[in-house]
Amino acid sequence: MRKQRVHHALDTLILLGASLLGILAFLYPFFTLTRQGFTGNTAHAQDAPLFTVILILLCLGAILATLGSGEMNSKMVAILGVLSAANAVLRAVPGPAGFAAVFVLPILCGYTYGATFGFLLGAFSILVSALIGGGVGPWLPYQMLATGWVGMTSAWLPRLERWKKGEVIALGLWGLFWGFAFGALMNIWFWPYVFQPQQASLYWQPGIGLRETLRRYALFYVLTSFWWDLGRAAGNALLIWAFGRPILKLLRRFQRRFYFTVLPSSRENQPPLKVHPQKSLH
């Protein structure tokens, strides 16, 4: 039991460390281009995207290698695989204004089953969907990491089981938030590179400071991807508000069937096996 707790703590630290590094990878161009001086033809302006992709791959690699070190049992592998397939199918169903219901399951599963499960479901859903739809490309690691964060952060929401209506309302608002946040996050991987420093107030320039950067990005976001993201955010919220309650009930019902481990007993005079219930799947 002690070893399990240590492993769980280390897994959580790896997930958090990789996520921190992932955030740094998204923000890395702002630091490097500021220091190097972005004059459009600087070699480092071309280095930065390659280095960022390497960092993102490192984050995903660290998390996935942790799985290989013995923590995932057959139940987790099976449920992750099958739910990833279900989510990939949901993603393939076209909705209005480019909406795809890919965030609903990671949000609800992350909230119910924990941060690790939420992260993995988000990341694997995108991977499976890319493999069936031929969407493998340099954008894939970014999408996997960002969708993984959707599931991971959903586990950090306060537990509202007693307040059933409020729980679904809060999760719907969370889906609304992530609908916008996902778009805002994904823009960052190209925004610092888009134009030259001579351009005006819509784009980033080295040395303009945090406040001005945020102001310019907000303006850029509202003028470009806000309207696209609005469809996604509204779709997430509506689906969770409409279907969230029965889905949560279903997830909790199956949690009791999935979330236990069978441990060998240490004493000979006791029954050979005992069942140890878990609160979340790690």
Partner: protein, 360 residues
């Protein structure tokens, strides 16, 4: 059918070249090579139609970015016309340099899209999953299950839909889909339970069994992540570049050592071995030559690959024959496919005395 490793190498080589250069002449060469490969190899794929749509959309976005770029950037010496200065964001000189820069930037992205179109249509996803290295085998198993269950999910959805219709349910708006969604999820969970039981019955879970080893591996991975964070922070925050690079090197070493330790406990079995053909060697060698050559030029003479239409450079891009030759090698997979009958890339596993393929 060529070996997926050869395709991966070709894709990495083409994508790296497209990422490292902004010279339109070199980009045209890469795009022509990728287009040729896409036409010859990828057109017969079931994914070809969806990629055609995506490529058209990419081309449309590219064309839209050209005037957008020209209207937003007012820098350059070749002024085409001038918009009133008092127009917010748009006011100022519209220059040829800005038009060219928009053209080249959009074209680079579209070329990247084309490369991945060729890759996705040429390589089967299931063959690709067999390349997953041993340290990611759990992730590979999850992705394989996901891929395998997608058709089953679609079939379940169809059956549930028909059953609900027979019961009188009508799917008129999105709110009517709950009677479809809930049985679909329940079925998915039931399948997962059956699958987990069947996997356990077949002895799945043969990864690490030594808790001390598991702890060590986690510590190694955590240490490598911490060192990367430190290695990035040192040059960015305190300008200690050399220590930062040393930390990054150390982190890389620890990371790969941890991966090696995870992977050495994994035993793999293959029902069918992928066959490495002569054409696979040709593709792999030519791609490696391009990758190495472009990498070498980039590290020794970066200016040879860059393009900057503004002053002090000129509008006309430079061209070097050695780079042109290296990039034209990327068309080889298309040529090989044209002149060769495609035999099956995989052969059934033969009984071998050397124990090269083990059952797990």
């Amino acid at each position: 059918m060529r070996h997926p490793v050869a395709w991966v190498l070709w894709t990495v080589s083409s994508a790296t070249a497209a990422l490292l250069t902004r010279n339109p002449l070199y980009l045209i060469l890469i795009a022509l090579a990728a287009w040729f490969v896409y036409l010859v190899v990828g057109q017969s794929s079931s994914l070809a139609r969806s990629w055609q749509g995506l490529l058209k959309l990419g081309a449309l976005i590219w064309l839209v970015t050209i005037p957008f770029n020209a209207l937003m950037i007012h820098h350059g010496t070749h002024v085409l016309f001038t918009l009133p200065k008092n127009w917010p964001l748009l006011g100022g000189a519209i220059t040829l340099e800005a038009v060219v820069m928009g053209l080249v930037s959009g074209f680079a992205l579209w070329t990247l899209l084309l490369i991945f179109a060729a890759f996705n249509t040429a390589v089967d996803a299931s063959l690709l999953l067999r390349l997953v290295p041993p340290f990611f085998y759990q992730a590979g198993v999850v992705a394989s299950i996901g891929l395998t269950f997608v058709p089953q999910m679609l079939l379940s959805a169809q059956e549930i839909r028909e059953a609900q219709r027979i019961r009188g349910h009508r799917f008129r708006s999105w709110r009517d889909f709950l009677p479809l969604l809930m049985p679909l999820l329940t079925t998915a969970f039931e399948h997962a339970i059956q699958l987990a039981e069947s996997m356990e019955a077949r002895g799945f879970g043969g990864g690490l069994t030594n808790p001390a080893e598991e702890t060590l591996l986690r510590r190694l991975l955590l240490a490598s992540l911490s060192l990367v964070l430190g290695g990035l922070a040192l040059p960015l925050l305190w300008e200690i570049r050399i220590f930062g690079e040393l930390l990054l090197l150390l982190a890389g070493g620890i990371f790969f050592y941890a991966l090696y330790r995870v992977g050495r406990h994994v035993q793999r079995s293959h029902y069918r071995r992928l066959r490495w053909t002569r054409s696979s060697s040709l593709i792999a060698l030519s791609s490696a030559a391009t990758l190495l050559g472009i990498g070498l030029i980039y590290s020794v003479d970066r200016a040879a690959l860059t393009y900057y239409p503004y002053q002090p450079s000129g509008l006309l891009p430079p061209f070097e024959a050695r780079i042109g030759f290296l990039l034209s090698l990327l068309a080889l997979p298309g040529l090989v496919s044209l002149f060769e009958e495609a035999p099956s890339a995989s052969v059934p596993l033969q009984t071998q005395g050397n124990g090269g393929e083990r059952s797990a």
